[in-house]
Symmetry: C3
C-alpha cells in the first residue's frame, strides 16, 4: 500500500503548516474581539452581564458544532474501511475551514475600522460555511487525499463567502438555515468537483464502496445528531425572540414528517420491502435542508410538515433512481449521494422560501415583519419582489457553485496532491497507520455451503 | 428470510402515508403558533426578545430530544443482530409519536379558540409522551414489526394523554419528571402488551437474544446520554427559577448514588463477582426514574441520594431474580427488562413523591410553595391530601396502563401487521437490507480446543 | 480467568456500599440547597425567575458533564479488549468522585453556617475535580481494579480540593479552565501513581495493549466530544458576560489551530507519512488544555492560535519520542499518554497564563479588569506580581501532584484491592461478564499466505 505519490510525510505537514501560519498572521493583523467578548468594550457600556449574546446564541452554536464534527463526521463512516478518514479528514478540514471562514466572512460582511470582529455569531457563521465544505466532501469521499481536501476548502470557503455576501448583503435575501448558501452551494459545488475528478476505473475499488454492519450503526450516530440538532442549526442566526423559536419549531415538524415519508418510500421502492440504511441515514434529514430558507417565516407547522413530507419522498427517489443515472450518464460519482440529501432538497427549500416570502402580508406577520422581511416592512420592496429576489438568489448560487466547482475541480486534479489510485479508493490504510492484523477484511469471510468450513476470499 | 407475511413493501408505506397525511390534515385544521412563536402575536406585546421562553426551555428540550433518539435508540442496540431495528424503529415511532402526541396532548390540555397552540413546551411534552412509547417498545423489542409498533404508538399516545390529563388537570397531581405518567405508564402498558403477544416458542430465536462485545459498547452510548441528561429531563417542564434548578440538582445526586449501588449489586449477585453489562446499562438509570416525581420538591440532596441508592438495588435485584420469574410464571417476555428500569423504579418514584408531598410545610417551602404545590399554597388542600392524591394517581396510572396494554396488545396481535416468526425474532434482516456478506454471524466462530482450527456453527 | 484475588464479589460491593453510605450520611449532615435551589430562600428575595443562575450555567454544565462521561469514557475505549472497563470504570469513579468532590470542595471553599451549599456551580466544580481523577485513570488504564480506582479517587479528590483551595482562595490564582488545578495536577498525580505501580512484566499483556479498527472509531467519539465542548469547559465557571464569551472563543481558536499542527506532526514523524490515530485522538485536544488558564484573559484569537499550534506540536512529539523514554528510563507506564495530552500542555498552559497575566494593563482590560484580575484592579497587587503568583501556583500544583501521587500509589499497591496479574492486564473479562463466544479474539485471525486458509493464533 506504500506509494510515493500518496505518501503524506511532506505534503500534508507543509500544507498544514503553511495554511496555519498564514491564518495566524492574518488573525494577528486583522482580527479583534467584538463588543461582547472584549473586556474593555463590554464593560464600557452599562448593561447586565446577562445581556451578553453568549447566553442567547452559544447553546445553538454548540448544537451546530456537534452537527459539524460528529454529525457530518460519523454520517460518512458508513463505508466499511474508511471510518478513520471519514471522521478524521472531516475533523481536519473543518478545523481549518472554520478559521479561514472567519476571515473570509469577516472580510465580506463588513470590517470595523479595518478589523474583523469575532464572537459567538462569527463562530456560528464559520461553522455554517464549514458545513458547505463538508457537504462537498461527501461527494468525493474515498477518492481524495487530505491535501486535496484542504485545497478544496481554501477555495470553496472563499467562494462561499462571496456568494453569501451577494445574497445576504447585496440582494437582501433571507436564508437563515442556508438552503441556498449552504446546502445548494455545497452540493452543486461538490458534484461539479467530483465530475471533474471522474474516475473511469473506480470499479477497481467497488468492493470497498459499501457498508458493513457496525459501520452502518456508527453512521446512525451521525444521522441522529444531525436530525436532532437541525432545529438549532436553522434557528442559530435568526433574529432573537419569536424568530428563533418559530424556526426551531418549523424545522422539528418538517423533520418528523420527512422521517415517515422516508421509511415509507424506502420500503416501497425495494422489491422485497426491506428498508435500506442508506435512505434512513440520509433522506430522513432532507426535511431539515428543505426548511432552511422558509423555516424562519410564518410557514406554519402544517406547511413545514408538507415540505418535509415531500423532501423525504424526493430524496429516496433520488437515491434509488437518479444517482445511478447521474453516475452512468453524467459521470458524476457521488459517494454519499449529496445530490439527494443536499442538492434537490436545497433547491426545493429555496423555492419554498421564495413562495412563502411572496405570500407574506402584514396581516400574518404584524410587527414581526420588521425582523423577517425588513425591506418589506420598510416598504422598500413588496413581498412578491422579495419572492423574486429569493428565486434569483437560487440561480446565483447555482451559478457560483457550478462554475466554482468546475474550476476548483481542475485545481484539485493537479497530480501533486497525492490522490489515491483507482484501486485504493475507499481505503483507510493509504493515509492511516492501520496495524497489519487489522487488515483482515471480515467481509471476505464466508462459509462453504457444503462443508460449512470457513474460508476467506472474495 | 423472505416471507410474504413480514414483507413490508405495502404494509409499511400504506401505514406511514395514511398516518402522516392524517397528521398533516389535522395540523392544518387544528394547530397554530402560540404567542411565543407567532410573529404577530409576539410583537403585539411589549417585551424584550430575551423574555421569550425559547431561551429558558430550549436547551432542556434538546437534552430531552437526545435522550429520546440517541438515548433510547442506542440503549436497545445491545442485541447482536438487532442494531438497525433498535435505532431505526426507535427513530420511526418517535418521529410519528411526537406529532401525534402534539395533537392528543393539545386536545386534552386545553384548546385556545378551537386551536392547539405549539411552542417549546409542546415540543417537550410531545417528547415526554414519546418516551413512554419507547419504554413499551423495550418490552417487545425484537418481536414486533414496524407496523405493529406504529399501531401501538397510535393507541398508547392517546391513552397517555388521557391519563396525563386526569392526573395533571383533574386531580392536580405533581409529576414533573413523569415517574407515573411516563415511566410507570409506559412500563406496565408495555408489559401487558408483551404478555398478550406471548410467544411460547421464542426459544427458537434465543441464540440471537444476547449481546456481542461491540453491541454492548454501542448500548453504553445510549446509557450515558440518558444518565447525563436525566437532570434536564426531570426539570424540563417544572416552573422556572429555583424549581428547574433544584430538580436538576436532585436528579444528579440520585443518579450518582444509584450508580454506586448498581455496581455493588451487580458484583454481589454474580457468583464470580463479575460485573454484568445489562445491570450497568440499565439499573444505573433507575435513580433518574425514581426521582421523577419528587425531584422538583424539597427532597434535599440527602433524600435524593437515598432514593437513587435504593432504586439501583431494586433494579439489579429485578434483573437478577424477578425477570426470570416473570417470564417463566407470568409469561411476560420483557426483552429489555423495562420492569426493572421503568416499572419498579417508577412506582417507587410515585411513592416517594406522595410521601414527600405529604410532608410539605410552609416552613420548608416558603413562598415557593405556590409553584410546587399551588393548591396547598392556596389552602385548597392540605399537604397530606396532596400526598393522598399522588398515591391515587399511581393507582389510576397503573389501571390505565394495564387495561390499555391489554386491549392494545390484542389489536397488535391481529395477523395482518407482519410480525416476525418465532424463529426470526431479534434479527434485522427480516426488515432491513443487510448484504449477504454481513450475514456471517461472528458469534458463531469458534476454535476447536484440540486442533485449534477455526470452525463455524452453533 | 477466574482468580481469587481479582474476584470482586465482596471487595467491590463492600467498597461501594461503605463509600456511598458515608456520602449519604455526610450529605445529610452537611449539605443544603443554596439560595438559587432552595424554594424558600429563592422566593424570599424579589427577583425574576429568569435571573436564576441555572439559565446561565446549566448549558455549560451539561457540556462539561458530557465531556466527563462520554468524552473521557470513550476516549479510553481505544484498547481492543478493554472497552467495558474504560467506559464502565470511568462511569463508576466519576459517579463517586462528583459526590465526594462536592463535600471536599464545599468544605474548603467556605461553609455557610456549618453547611455546604449546592447548586449548578458546585455541580460544575465537582465535575472539574472528577476530571482530574479521570486524567490519572488514563495513566493506569488497564492495570488497576475498580476498587483501586475508587481508593485513588478518595485521596485524589481530597488533595485536589486542598491544592485548589491554596491556589484559588489563598494565592488568588486565576485558573478558570484548570490548566494547573485539573490537568497538571491530574497528570503528574497519575504519572506518579503509575510509577509506583510499575510492572516490570507488563510485556505479558502487550498484545492487548493496542487498538483494533472499531475501537479506534469508538475512541473518536470521545475525542470529538472533548474537542467540541472544551470551549464550554474552560468558560463554565468564569465570570458572566464577556468573560465566559471570550473564554469560549479563545479555546475554540486554540483547538482549531492545534488540530492542524497535530495532523502535520503526525504525518511528519511517521516514516511512511501515515497518520496515527493515537495522535489525532489525543494531541488534537492539547490546545484546550493549554488555553485553560489564559483562556479567560485577553489572550486574543491570535495568541490563542499560537498557543494551540504549539501545544499540538509538543503533544505529538511527546507521544512519538518522550513516552517511550519515560517508560524505558523512568519506568512510567502511561497507558493513554496523559503526559502528552494533559501534563506538558497543562504546564504550558500555566506558563502562558503567568505571562499573559503579567502583561495585563488597564488599557487592555478597562473596567473588565475587576472580573479577570480583581486584585490587580483593586491595586492590591501589580500585574507582574499576579504573573509571579501564577508561576508559583504551578510549582505548588506540581509538588502536590507528585508527592500526593507517590503516597497514594503506595496505598493502591497494597495487595488487597484485587489488581490484575501482569498477564491479564488490558482485559475486560477479569472484571466483566463476557460471554465465552465473545472471547474469540478477532485480532488473532489470520490467513495463511500460501493456502489462503484461515487460522487462529498469535
Amino acid at each position: 500500500m506504500a506509494d510515493a505519490n500518496t505518501n503524506m510525510r511532506l505534503k500534508l505537514p507543509i500544507t498544514c503548516f503553511i495554511l496555519e501560519i498564514i491564518l495566524i498572521i492574518l488573525f494577528g493583523v486583522l482580527v479583534e474581539y467584538d463588543e461582547e467578548t472584549d473586556a474593555k468594550k463590554w464593560h464600557h457600556s452599562n448593561h447586565s452581564q446577562y445581556d451578553n449574546d453568549f447566553y442567547y446564541r452559544y447553546p445553538s452554536f454548540q448544537d451546530v458544532h456537534v452537527m459539524i464534527f460528529i454529525g457530518f463526521g460519523f454520517l460518512m463512516t458508513f463505508l466499511q474501511r474508511y471510518g478513520f478518514s471519514s471522521v478524521g479528514f472531516n475533523f481536519l478540514i473543518a478545523a481549518f475551514a472554520l478559521q479561514w471562514a472567519t476571515l473570509m466572512q469577516g472580510f465580506f460582511h463588513g470590517m470595523h475600522g479595518g478589523k474583523i470582529h469575532v464572537g459567538v455569531e462569527s463562530m456560528i457563521n464559520a461553522d455554517f460555511c464549514t458545513g458547505s465544505v463538508l457537504i462537498s466532501f461527501g461527494a468525493v469521499l474515498g477518492k481524495t487525499s487530505p491535501v486535496q481536501l484542504l485545497v478544496m476548502a481554501v477555495f470553496e470557503v472563499t467562494l462561499f463567502a462571496v456568494n453569501e455576501f451577494i445574497l445576504l448583503s447585496i440582494l437582501g435575501t433571507k436564508d437563515a438555515g442556508g438552503s441556498m448558501t449552504i446546502h445548494t452551494f455545497g452540493a452543486y459545488f461538490g458534484l461539479m468537483v467530483t465530475r471533474v475528478l471522474y474516475r473511469p476505473n473506480l470499479d477497481k475499488s467497488k468492493h470497498k464502496n459499501s457498508s458493513v454492519y457496525h459501520s452502518d450503526l456508527f453512521a446512525m450516530i451521525g444521522t441522529l445528531y444531525l436530525w436532532m440538532f437541525w432545529p438549532s442549526f436553522n434557528s442559530a442566526i435568526t433574529a432573537h425572540g419569536d424568530d428563533q423559536h418559530r424556526t426551531a419549531l418549523n424545522t422539528y415538524y418538517s423533520l418528523a414528517a420527512c422521517t415517515l415519508s422516508t421509511y415509507a418510500m424506502s420500503a416501497l421502492t425495494a422489491h422485497d420491502g426491506k428498508l435500506d440504511m442508506v435512505h434512513i441515514q440520509n433522506a430522513a434529514l432532507a426535511g431539515g435542508v428543505a426548511a432552511g430558507t422558509a423555516g424562519e417565516m410564518m410557514l406554519t407547522p402544517f406547511g413545514s410538515m408538507i415540505v418535509g413530507f415531500l423532501a423525504g419522498i424526493i430524496s429516496v427517489l433520488g437515491y434509488k433512481y437518479l444517482s445511478p443515472i447521474l453516475e452512468s450518464k453524467l459521470k458524476i460519482q457521488d459517494t454519499c449521494g449529496i445530490h439527494n440529501l443536499h442538492g434537490m432538497p436545497g433547491v426545493m427549500g429555496a423555492i419554498v422560501g421564495a413562495v412563502t416570502a411572496s405570500l407574506a402580508t402584514i396581516e400574518i406577520y404584524g410587527n414581526g415583519m420588521e425582523e423577517v422581511f425588513p425591506d418589506v416592512a420598510d416598504n422598500k420592496r413588496t413581498a412578491s419582489y422579495q419572492g423574486a429576489i429569493q428565486a434569483i438568489s437560487l440561480a446565483v448560487t447555482l451559478g457560483f457553485a457550478l462554475v466554482g466547482g468546475l474550476l476548483v475541480g481542475f485545481i484539485m486534479k493537479l497530480p501533486i496532491f497525492g490522490a489515491p489510485s483507482d484501486a485504493s479508493c475507499f481505503e483507510d490504510s493509504i493515509y492511516w497507520e492501520v496495524s497489519s492484523k487489522k487488515l483482515l477484511d471480515t467481509s471476505k469471510l464466508c462459509i462453504c455451503p457444503q462443508c460449512q468450513r470457513l474460508s476467506y476470499g472474495s
